[in-house]
Chain length 145, copies 2
DNA sequence: ATAATAGTAACTTTATTAGTTACATTTGAC
DNA sequence: GTCAAATGTAACTAATAAAGTTACTATTAT
């Protein structure tokens, strides 16, 4: 999954686990909510599991659960869990060209700084915050109540 | 071109225009440096031109040039010029699901804040800064001198 | 006039991503 | 113990997106 979409999907999954509030949810159930298939979901869950954001139980009637209270899961945690790649990727290098061959070195620090700058803002928002807002929206909306 | 790669490429182009220091460079010449073809380069240049970062001259012996002194071209200018899309894209929505159908609204503010947080750091670095560093690197390197 | 360039659209090829299938492993239920 | 249903992956296929190419018009220096 592309990094940008994966971030949204991972937030979706965490929020959905909280929303349903059950002990365990299967990847199949989550997949319905996200409108994709269970394997795609399990692939994202695998990354969240590596960072101990979710846990899983194998076997019949197994599934996934949040490993921490939602107050302790913030968007930066999730961002880091699912973003293996660099935010700004440098394409192929022309070693013959003095500019091209040194570009990666030149932009490394600014790009890193840009990514780090996102940290405080994303750290501030937790799944609990988003869930609180969601409850507020649903209370007003006749659609699902 | 993907947004992440386009940012690097756009920086590359600006830096290369400055490095060559000539009145005009053709998309063909730039393409050699970036190791792609002229049309791809012209597509990136078209976005930089819209924001008055580069200018172009049509006709034989035409080409591209930087419209401002490099001290006045910073990385945030370039980022804005080439990033039409949102940094974190939300995939398709399942309207049946209370979480999915409200997710976009919930993450909009945090995502926007994250993107805005990059601004000061990127604004601080100009093409002049990068060019200065590049000259320092090339002075030490026997490869291109 | 000619040649070389920008600007852009349309097309083709390539690469990436999404989705699917398959299967070993695990485990609760009977 | 057997079965059913789940995770965890790998391998494969289909769909999508991006890169690259071709082709064309408009422009302009020579």
């Amino acid at each position: 999954m592309k990094a940008d979409a994966k971030f949204s999907t991972a937030i979706h999954i965490c929020l959905y686990l909280q929303y349903r509030g059950e002990k365990l949810l299967s990847s199949k159930e989550i997949a319905v909510s996200v409108d994709t298939n269970p394997v795609v979901i399990r692939r994202v869950l695998a990354e969240l599991r590596k960072k101990d954001i979710v846990g899983s139980v194998a076997g019949s009637s197994g599934g996934f659960y949040l490993m921490r209270p939602v107050e302790k899961i913030n968007l930066w945690d999730i961002y880091q869990a699912v973003n293996d790649r660099e935010l700004f990727h440098r394409p192929k290098v022309n070693e013959e060209c003095p500019v091209s061959s040194n570009l990666a070195q030149l932009v490394k620090a600014p790009f890193q700084a840009a990514e780090n700058a996102m940290q405080p803002g994303l750290k501030k928002i937790t799944i609990s915050d988003l869930y609180g807002q969601l409850k507020g929206i649903l209370k007003k909306s006749p659609k699902f109540c």
